[in-house]
């Protein structure tokens, strides 16, 4: 039996080496706020799934923000340092509102970042699960999903000319704001916050 189990280990490891060679990076934290590391790529996200690196403190969602909050706060700090005086004043005014909205915007940005290829494809086709999910993330009423989809398809070139997910999100919000019916039915007022990401 020892020989058999030895052979089984050998057989498994032969095929495993291929999978292990991918060299997954560190990834992960709580729901809706997955950190995109320095080397973005799907395998990194996969690592979060299969390696379960963020099950540490109460399931990664204890405080609703988990270790992602840390990353988010760091990001905001970096933003502070870059801010000029004028911008800072403006920012202080909106500070309270921002705090409420920041998690929503982070969720929106993450959704766009982590679904970018799918969104690009679905938007061109004018159909797909990712568009409804994005519309929902932007707070749109179900009734305007078809219109939302149409608007994204029509402006496909402009929207996806941007390379950064935050810019793609900004472009999408601009499209929504330009359409009165969509603007009324969606909640995209927090456009400027997305820019800070």
């Amino acid at each position: 039996m020892k020989i058999v189990s030895g052979a089984l280990v050998a057989a498994l490891s032969m095929v495993t080496s291929h999978a292990m060679a991918a060299g997954y990076g560190a990834a992960g934290c709580g729901l809706g706020s997955i950190v995109i590391g320095p080397k973005p790529g799907f395998m990194q996200v996969i690592a979060a799934t299969t390696n379960g690196t963020f099950a540490s403190q109460t399931f990664g969602i204890t405080t609703g923000t988990s270790n992602c909050a840390e990353k988010g706060e760091k990001g905001d700090k970096a933003g502070d340092e870059e801010d000029t005086g004028v911008k800072k004043k403006k920012k202080e005014k909106k500070e309270k509102k921002k705090q409420q909205e920041s998690s929503t915007v982070r969720e929106q940005t993450d959704f766009v970042a982590l679904n970018l290829n799918t969104l690009k494809r679905d938007a061109a086709k004018g159909e797909g699960d990712s568009l409804a999910a994005l519309a929902s993330t932007l707070g749109c009423d179900v009734a305007v999903y078809p219109q939302f989809t149409k608007s994204l398809q029509g402006a496909h070139a402009q929207i996806f000319a941007a390379k950064q997910p935050a810019d793609v999100l900004k472009n999408i919000k601009t499209q929504v704001q330009a359409n009165k019916a969509l603007n009324d039915a969606c909640d995209v007022a927090s456009n400027d916050v997305a820019l800070n990401k």
Partner: protein, 638 residues
């Protein structure tokens, strides 16, 4: 050793003291100790602690993390854990540390004990469980599904599929439609590998060397991982839980979520743990104790499906290849040629053919197929960008965006592959027949897992073979000799059919040992494998295939020397019914050995019939160089 024993004794005494303290204040009934002892022995309590039956020893919990237990011996002593839990529930709240009180940390135990010991519950303090409240608020769940990701041959850890939970969010407006599926959440349990060394990985994976952890993810990440990146179909089985059970599910996850469980590839794996979670939610299910020896994810489904009123019929979420095939099926032959020519031109660096000749609606369909091919070919998922066909993709997308919106792609559920309908993994069979030397024999076979190409397609389809430790023992009636006829340590084959626009490689790989078949009664140890092609001509409901294989072996029949044996294999699989498979193959081989080579021609025909879900009958006949053998076998899956 002595110290450990003393420690255990101390724990037991402490638990007893707590119990006595609890009892003396409780004033419920005169025989509270008995009542508590009875509670500790109930399946409901033991399921909350993730206790499992063990072979040859007392049952204990699979949870490793010490933080999960309140008693030092909680992992092995359910009564001590119950006493410690009751004591902790009564303990005063540390100022400002409400969230750390046991009542906040163990909401599932709390709810269950409050129901079982209402008078006792009145003596508990009322901590403000803010973190728990936030988890519930941030995470409203209307119902849950058990999701099966189909078998994936490219990664050994995924050979047998995978299961996880999907948590459905409630509608945003009362009575409104459910929110988009992508925004639901998934609860996954997986090994957390601590090594990159493949040998260590396999060894530790089999022996429980990796801590298994729970994770909570957006469902879209799981869809990306399985559907898009690995091209695996997803089967979603809604769990018919009551609202109270959904709350309990979330409470159970809250309790066990942060703790580790040693991950055993064979038994204490992702699927088994999901069953333990379901048992904790509804103790009357008793799903986990139904496992014997192995727990494959498919078995999880079959066991869960056999529990009355637990699973709804599955919904199918198509893999990227399945989606492409559906797109391809919508195209006319000239449109398929155009799409194919597009990729040929791109690969050759030539100008792209124009789609302008097609009417807009047809053009949209052709472009959609081409785009889906890029998704499949480059395993594009979520944030991953095309590399090989980046320019082509942009070119196609720009054209597609100017055309009418597509109708949602309708993909029929491939009912024959519905994973809960297949037989369980372990096959034990007995049979008999006459071998090439005209000797009668009786045989016994044990195939721990999972599926053979010659078996009926139900639950698995017609292109996959996965076997581990498939062993057949024969006893010759005349001589009374009993010998191992065949032992296949690892036996895998994949026969994906050639499609109009793609030519996937078929392949086969086997490691094992077996008797030489020309009556020499000698053992051959071998590694065998090779590539080939499979196709269903004219989309007919059967599959023909051809393989070119090479076997390297060491055989007693060739004076205990090494041998090499190239062979050509041709075969046909005819799934007459979902539960009835007829198959035939023909193999010609040339053996090269230091002492004496040979040429063999071998044919085989077999019919396999699954009676109900758990019994399999098969008859077969073989011809080796003009000499016939035949046999029959009856097997039981469990």
């Amino acid at each position: 050793m002595i110290r450990r024993r003393a420690h255990r004794l101390g724990d037991a005494l402490f638990a007893l003291l707590l119990l006595v303290a609890t009892v003396s204040v409780a004033q419920e009934q005169p025989r509270v100790e008995e009542r508590v002892a009875r509670l500790a022995a109930t399946p409901a309590w033991r399921a909350l602690l993730f206790y499992v039956p063990r072979l040859l020893r007392a049952s204990d919990s699979v949870v490793d993390g010490p933080g999960f237990f309140l008693a030092g011996t909680g992992r092995t002593d359910a009564l001590a854990e119950l006493a410690a839990t009751l004591a902790a529930f009564r303990a005063p709240i540390a100022p400002g540390k409400d969230d750390e009180h046991a009542l906040c940390r163990y909401p599932a135990r709390r709810a269950w004990l409050a129901g079982a010991l209402p008078a006792e519950a009145r003596a508990w303090p009322a901590p403000k469980c803010e973190r728990l409240a936030r988890w519930r608020d941030a995470f409203p769940v209307s119902y849950a599904s058990l999701v099966f990701a189909s078998n994936y041959l490219n990664v050994p850890a995924s050979l047998f599929g995978h299961t996880f939970l999907r948590l459905h969010r409630p509608s945003l407006t009362p009575g409104g439609p459910p929110p988009p599926a992508l925004l639901d959440a998934a609860v996954n349990f997986a090994a957390n590998p601590t090594t990159d060394n493949p040998v260590a990985y396999a060894y530790l994976g089999l022996t429980g060397g990796f801590p298994g952890t729970f994770s909570l993810l957006p469902y879209y990440l799981k869809i990306q991982e399985y559907n898009d990146s690995e091209s695996r179909d997803l089967w979603e089985y809604d769990l018919k839980l009551t609202p109270a059970e959904v709350v309990k599910l979330m409470d159970v996850l809250w309790e066990v979520g942060p703790h580790t469980i040693s991950y055993y590839y064979i038994d204490e794996n992702c699927s088994y743990i999901m069953l333990l979670v379901l048992d904790a939610v509804r103790p009357s299910l008793r799903l986990a104790p139904q496992f014997r020896l192995f727990a494959t994810p498919g078995d999880t489904l079959r066991i869960a499906a056999s529990a009355p009123g637990l699973l709804a019929p599955p919904k199918f979420r198509a893999a990227s290849l399945t989606r492409f095939e559906a797109r391809e099926a919508q195209l006319a032959p000239d449109e398929r040629r155009l799409v194919k020519a597009t990729f040929r031109a791109e690969d050759a660096g030539q100008p792209r053919p124009s789609y302008a000749g097609l009417a807009p609606a047809r053009r949209a369909k052709a472009l959609d197929a081409a785009l889906d091919w890029i998704d499949y070919d480059e395993a594009l998922a979520g944030q991953r960008e095309a590399v090989k066909y980046k320019g082509l993709q942009d070119w196609l997308l720009a054209q597609r965006a100017t055309l009418p919106a597509a109708a949602p792609l309708a993909i029929a559920t491939p009912a024959a592959r519905r994973p809960d309908l297949g037989p369980r993994s372990i096959l034990v069979a007995a049979g008999g027949g006459r071998d090439y030397a005209a000797r009668d024999y009786v045989s016994a076979e044990w195939r721990p897992t999972l599926h053979s190409l010659e078996s009926p397609v139900l639950g698995f389809g017609d292109s996959l073979q996965i076997g581990f430790l498939d062993t057949e023992v024969r006893r010759l009636l005349a001589s009374g000799r009993t010998e191992i006829e065949s032992l296949k340590i690892f036996d895998c084959a994949s026969l994906p059919g050639v499609r109009p626009m793609m030519t996937p490689l078929a392949w086969q790989f086997t490691v094992g040992a077996g008797r030489e078949e020309f009556g020499a009664e000698r053992l051959r140890r071998y590694v065998n494998g090779g590539p080939g092609l499979a196709f269903s001509p004219w989309d007919a409901p059967f599959k023909v295939y051809g393989l070119a294989t090479l076997e390297l072996g060491w055989s007693e029949a060739f004076r205990e020397r090494w041998l090499a044996e190239p062979a050509l294999v041709g075969g046909v699989l005819l799934p007459v019914r979902e539960r009835f498979m007829a198959s035939a193959d023909w193999r010609v081989s040339r053996t090269y050995a230091e002492q004496g080579g040979r040429i063999d021609k071998k044919g085989r025909a077999q019919a396999t019939w699954q009676v109900r879900g758990d019994t399999e009958l098969k008859v077969y006949t073989e011809q080796l160089n003009g000499v016939a053998s035949y046999g029959a076998q009856a097997g039981y899956f469990f």
